[in-house]
């Protein structure tokens, strides 16, 4: 049966990218445990607005765990305590009455704070722009069934393609590395027949762009732990393998000219 919770929140408030931020304490009462974590913030914001205070800005949109907009640190964990769950899909029944909950934005140098809990994740888009695509301009592509793809390969590509680009992997990583994000896209495309012609070019370009913004991977595995889509760490090994091969393969291609 539905119960209600009284909680103490410590929320990071920051006016803008160059302002100084601080934790602000809020007492929230009578939160139904069927509410989602973001609905709990909605209720708090409605109360703040009624009191004439400025509501907390937090990232959210689809609220069904697929758009990748949401994501905050909850008690130090990206997307909170429930495994394989985006913040919007986390429900208050995972908390207990009287809990203190610390809510912070993603913490990474590559993700500057826009306001309160909202950060700028545009470097992730830049990694995709560097090579996260197949060059297949719109036109008359060959019939889709002309390129059979073994089911196991398609399934594995789909496992990687399930990434929602939320940035939790970066936020959870002690090095603020983006290897899990990058490897998911590299494996999605590099494992498929359509991705082969650009395979080595892609991995080099994406890794090089990634390294302009993010730290280095030292295999902590916090990324997979935090990932709402449970993208496996194995993909990072594939990424490294293809990156290493690219150093040889690309040179060989060059020498053949």
């Amino acid at each position: 049966m539905s119960q209600s919770l009284n909680l103490k929140l410590k929320v990071w408030r920051q006016d803008g990218p160059s302002s100084t931020g601080t934790f602000v304490d809020y007492d929230v009462q009578n939160i139904p445990d069927d509410a989602s974590f973001l609905e709990m913030l909605d209720i708090l914001n409605e109360q703040l607005l009624e009191k004439g205070e400025v509501p907390i800005e937090f990232p959210h949109d689809c609220r069904e765990g697929i758009c990748g907009t949401c994501g905050v640190m909850i008690n130090g964990r990206a997307h909170g305590p429930e495994h394989g769950t985006a913040t919007c899909q986390l429900h208050m029944r995972k908390f207990s009455n009287g809990d203190t909950i610390v809510v912070e934005p993603w913490k990474a140098r590559a993700f500057p704070i826009v306001k309160d809990l909202v950060v700028d994740r545009s470097p992730l888009d830049q990694i995709i722009a560097a090579g996260g695509f197949v060059t297949a301009p719109t036109g008359t592509a060959a019939d889709a069934n002309e390129t059979p793809i073994p089911k196991e390969v398609a399934d594995s590509a789909m496992d990687a393609a399930a990434c929602i680009g939320c940035g939790a992997c970066v936020a959870a990583c002690p090095n603020s590395a983006a290897q899990l994000f990058t490897s998911a896209k590299v494996w999605h495309l590099n494992s498929l027949p359509q991705g082969q012609p650009e395979r080595f070019r892609r991995v080099e370009a994406m890794v090089d762009t990634m390294e302009q913004f993010f730290g280095s991977c030292t295999n902590h595995g916090e990324c997979t732990e935090a990932c709402p889509k449970e993208i496996p760490q194995d993909f990072i090994a594939y990424l490294n393998r293809d990156y290493m091969k690219s150093k040889v393969a690309n040179r060989r291609l060059a020498s053949q000219r």
Binding site: P32, P55, C62, I66, H91, A141, A144, I149, A157, A161
Partner: protein, 638 residues
């Protein structure tokens, strides 16, 4: 006088080909002399941006998201239709065309639907070439599933995340053009006005959501791919930020708004649980392939679902519609759910749902088969309800999901404002009064990849050599001032209620009176109620914070203001349409069996509404619909 719909001459199957040949082209070297502004980065916007960039146009893409990959197309679950006939089950372009016209209850434009069916085939090829990981069989060929309203298996899918994979495909193609410098991204920007000069669209005014700056942007043509208006109901399956503002501001500038009363209520969503609820979650229609829908025959039933014997269960869709069973179109499935719940047979703590039961499928195929098909949906359901759908039937109820109405467009996807185009859910064009499942993804990509890139050249070609209008032009400065005035007004009102409060209250009015069933009395009453609430909005609204930084309350205020005007027009459109068709069900017009009763003699037309100024009722224009190919019949899925 109605604008010309520009339907090409000739036999249905040749219209699109003939048209592509007869419209004007811009030569490859001249394309770089044109600037096109696209608003929205969903399937339609991203695919149009990618393709127009590839062709050589200069594209500027505006989205209110922090990344274009977050547009709401991403949430589509079930699949995308295409007339590939890979199953050898008798599918064809003509059958997809026929099913879509029939599914739309004979209220769509035949020529547009036929074109959609034609290009559906190219979409699958294109997306496969881009590396979209569609579901495959062991032989490596593409898999299909069935969707409502069709008796063939033509739906392609990528687990329960088809929208995500297609959107990421289009987004990646667009990001390639970003890297090439052909597409400029303007993320976290919201379009707040269309700028017109001498009757033509020449640019937009937008607000930078991070800095609060209001800026103008000049272009040779503008494309609105800004999605539907389902959030007018407040509770819907749409993402929180989905809104009608871009389309509505265009409407206020002269673009006709067509068929606003055609809204789709999706039959399989998780029922409302409480007052604080912020949105409803869809459970894909694909679940109806394996789930059986039922309610207990006895309204006072209090046994657990598993211990209710077969004889005491009412499989109402299977009993009433033996041919289509649980796969009847969405409008039919939704209305029947409402009927049983209204009779008191609903289930769950609030008796506001029906069962979607997988026990038979799990016994038949095994749990692992069901898990492979739907695991992400089952997991999502479990997260939200804390119930395990593998052992307890899902509880579902209809919710607002998609809007067939939208900006009126001609065959070229141009609105009544020359130079202003609309693509995807934002336009009204292809689904008539009801959209079939897996057709939204098809239409968004058809518009963006294969229609707009051709048709926009016809408008641009004669403008060769003309520079875009300067943003110093009075047309721009006046529009900027209008937007700034509204922002200032919101910030200075100092009332007591939040934008969310007004949105929630408006949503209740719209859902109760312009929802799954409508009648004259309710519609006449609700117009007054919406106006009264709107007056309260404009006196008692409170927008906290400032307008010089991220302020979601301010963004929301502008969107809710537009929903008020739209809600009123929906009611007036529903009143005017004295028939039932598809998603528009007027209780006064039904067959003895309770099905929608059309009136083809008087209502086989598109209702397109023209803005007449604030507080003036819009004037109605009718575009007659001619049916040359598909015979108008009473839809039957029995």
């Amino acid at each position: 006088m109605f604008a010309d719909s520009k339907i090409p001459e000739g036999p249905m199957a040749d219209k699109w080909n003939n048209h592509k040949f007869s419209i004007k082209l811009v030569n490859p070297a001249n394309k770089r002399k044109f600037r096109i502004a696209i608003v929205g980065s969903g399937l339609a916007g991203a695919s149009a941006a990618a393709t127009l960039g590839e062709l050589g146009y200069n594209v500027d893409l505006f989205t209110f998201h922090d990344s274009p990959r977050r547009a709401h197309s991403i949430a589509a679950q079930g699949g995308i239709n295409a007339a590939k006939n890979y199953r050898n089950d008798g599918d064809s372009v003509y059958r997809l065309f026929y099913d879509t016209v029939k599914g739309g209850d004979y209220r769509s434009r035949e020529s547009n639907v036929h074109r959609l069916a034609e290009v559906s085939v190219n979409i699958i090829d294109q997306m496969a070439a881009q590396g979209v990981p569609f579901a495959r069989e062991y032989g490596g060929l593409l898999d299909n599933r069935s969707f409502g309203g069709a008796q063939v298996s033509r739906t392609f899918y990528a687990r329960g995340q088809t929208g995500q994979q297609l959107l990421l495909g289009a987004y990646q193609q667009m990001m390639r053009q970003v890297a090439e410098g052909k597409v400029n991204l303007y993320t976290s920007t919201e379009m707040l006005d269309v700028v017109t000069k001498d009757g033509e669209a020449v640019g937009i005014v937008y607000r930078d959501l991070v800095t609060g700056e209001i800026r103008s942007h000049s272009a040779h043509a503008v494309v609105l791919a800004t999605g539907g208006y389902g959030n007018v109901f407040y509770l819907s399956t749409n993402a929180m930020a989905c809104n009608v503002t871009a389309a509505w501001r265009a409407h206020r500038k002269g673009a006709y708004f067509a068929n606003p009363c055609y809204t789709q209520i999706h039959p399989t969503c998780i029922p409302v649980a409480d007052e604080f609820q912020s949105k409803l979650t869809l459970m894909s229609e694909s679940l109806r392939n394996d789930g059986r829908i039922w309610v207990p025959r006895n309204p006072d039933e209090n046994r657990a679902p598993a211990s209710i014997p077969e004889a005491d269960r009412y499989y109402y869709l299977e009993e009433k519609y033996p041919a289509f069973g649980n796969l009847v179109p969405r409008d039919v499935a939704s209305r029947n759910a409402k009927t049983v719940v209204d009779k008191g047979q609903g289930i769950g703590p609030l008796k506001n749902g029906v069962y979607l039961d997988f026990s038979e499928a799990i016994n038949r195929d095994g749990r692992d088969v069901i898990e492979a098909k739907y695991s992400n949906l089952f997991q999502m359901y479990e997260r939200i309800t804390a119930e395990d759908p593998y052992t307890v039937p899902m509880r579902i109820y209809p919710a607002s999901h998609y809007t067939m109405g939208g900006l009126w467009v001609d065959y070229n996807l141009m609105t009544t404002i020359p130079g202003l185009y609309s693509a995807g859910e934002a336009n009204f064009s292809d689904h008539g009064a009801n959209r079939l499942g897996a057709s939204a993804l098809m239409q968004g990509l058809a518009d963006g990849y294969f229609v707009l890139p051709y048709t926009i050249g016809d408008y641009l070609a004669p403008k060769l050599g003309q520079d875009p209008v300067s943003t110093d032009d009075p047309a721009f400065t006046t529009a900027v001032r209008g937007v700034q005035d509204q922002v200032d007004q919101f910030m200075s009102m100092g009332g007591t209620r939040s934008p969310d409060y007004f949105h929630r209250e408006l949503g209740k009015l719209v859902w109760d009176n312009i929802g799954m069933a409508r009648n004259r009395e309710g519609l006449e009453k609700v117009v007054g109620e919406i106006r009264a609430l709107r007056d309260e909005f404009w006196t008692d609204l409170r927008v906290p914070g400032n307008s010089e930084s991220l302020n979601s309350s301010l963004e929301k205020a502008g969107r809710v203001a537009d929903f008020f005007e739209l809600g009123e027009l929906m009611a007036r459109d529903a009143l005017d349409r004295e028939e039932s068709c598809g998603g528009h069900f007027r209780e006064e017009y039904q067959t003895p069996e309770g099905e929608a009763q059309r009136d083809d003699e008087n209502f086989a037309h598109v209702s397109a509404w023209e803005w007449q100024g604030p507080d003036q009722p819009q004037s109605l224009h009718k575009e007659p619909l001619a049916f040359e190919e598909v015979k108008l019949t009473q839809r039957s899925y029995k």
